[in-house]
């Protein structure tokens, strides 16, 4: 498998981004929904710290991934109706948008709440804004709505991939698979 994508399939870097980020997303979303209900205490703070550290990791990854994606060619889409092409493009743009929105709104929420931000006890990051109760509410809403939207769009993306694989019998899913080469 080549590092870079070709007209026929995705390169290994893109596949690594795709599946690595999916694993981190499953982890961060699970932690995210679990942690909010925890009682106030040191454990809660540590789990929030983990959530924030994974979120910052995902922010770095989506920046690198977007740059990488812009720097290489996209494999041609298999034959499909034009509306499906449009939906596919829209879904992918929405995925990228939400992958940026989630860490940034989380960071903003954290800053507006007046909490520190530290990446795995290694690096402290500056606040995006001053502590502000109104901004806090806004950022929190963005983060929560964004989470729901991300789960929805990922589900749509997944269903579409399964539909291409099992119903259309095309290469869409196989060429993103982590364990196969470009050629089928």
């Amino acid at each position: 498998m080549a590092l870079r994508s070709t007209a026929g399939g995705w390169g290994s870097v893109t596949r690594a981004f795709h599946w690595g980020m999916l694993l981190l997303l499953i982890g961060i979303v699970s932690v995210g929904y679990y942690m909010t209900g925890l009682p106030l205490g040191a454990a809660k703070l540590q789990i929030y710290a983990l959530h924030k550290s994974i979120g910052l990791t995902l922010l770095a990854l989506v920046i690198l991934r977007a740059l990488w994606r812009l720097s290489e060619q996209r494999p041609a889409l298999p034959p499909m109706p034009i509306w499906q092409v449009r939906v596919a493009i829209g879904t992918h743009l929405l995925l990228y948008g939400l992958l940026f929105l989630m860490p940034l709104s989380g960071w903003l929420y954290n800053s507006a709440s007046g909490f520190p931000l530290q990446w795995f006890h290694v690096l402290n990051l500056p606040a995006l804004a001053r502590a502000d109760p109104h901004l806090k509410v806004l950022a929190r809403s963005l983060h929560e709505i964004g989470a729901g939207a991300l789960i929805g769009v990922v589900a749509l993306h997944m269903l579409a991939a399964l539909k291409h694989h099992f119903i259309d019998n095309d290469v869409t899913l196989r060429r993103m698979a982590p364990w196969r080469g470009d050629r089928f």
Binding site: L40, G41, A42, L45, F115, P116, N124
Partner: protein
Amino acid sequence: MKRVVAVFRAAFVALAFVATLAVAAPVYPVVAARSSLAFSGTQQGERFNGVFRAFEARIQYAPDDLAGSHFDVTIPLKSLDSKNSERDAALATAEWFDFTHFPNATFRTVAMHMTATGVVADADVTIKGRTRRIAFPFTWKGSASGATLDARVTLDRLDYGLGTGDWADDAMVGRKVEVTVRLVLGPVVPVEVPAAKPTLKAVGQPKAKR
């Protein structure tokens, strides 16, 4: 005539002496709006600042009468504000200040002495029922309209049982907490005449039944 002058002089000296005793270390009123009791700690490697919005301080001080000088401060802990509602809520719990059982912290000087760098008070700080004696160096600046008192001390939160259990970890919340005191003190209040007190009481309180 000389005798009269001598008598007057003696009386004056005696009066002045008594007056000196009475106001040796005057009590200064605190100008609350311009005074602050702030603290600064670290959380996850980042500094945060907070204040106690309310405190009552009785500041009796004369630079030339350290033995007669005394600071007595009571801090209602629920006036704590660290500019973060979640953190404030956590600080109220039993693992931190435990507001329910220990609503106040106190600070009382037991002695003051002059050192090479200035006046240092030995003070008993009581938080959460635990008392520690600390050295409290401070800067006093007297002026025509009153005085200012500035001090900065560093406390170890674990000395007072603040942040027990899983919170004790220094990496999450630093043990050292810097406390900064800035008191702006108004002009000294004239000493009350003791005889005036019963009159005030009689006016202010209902008459006792016979």
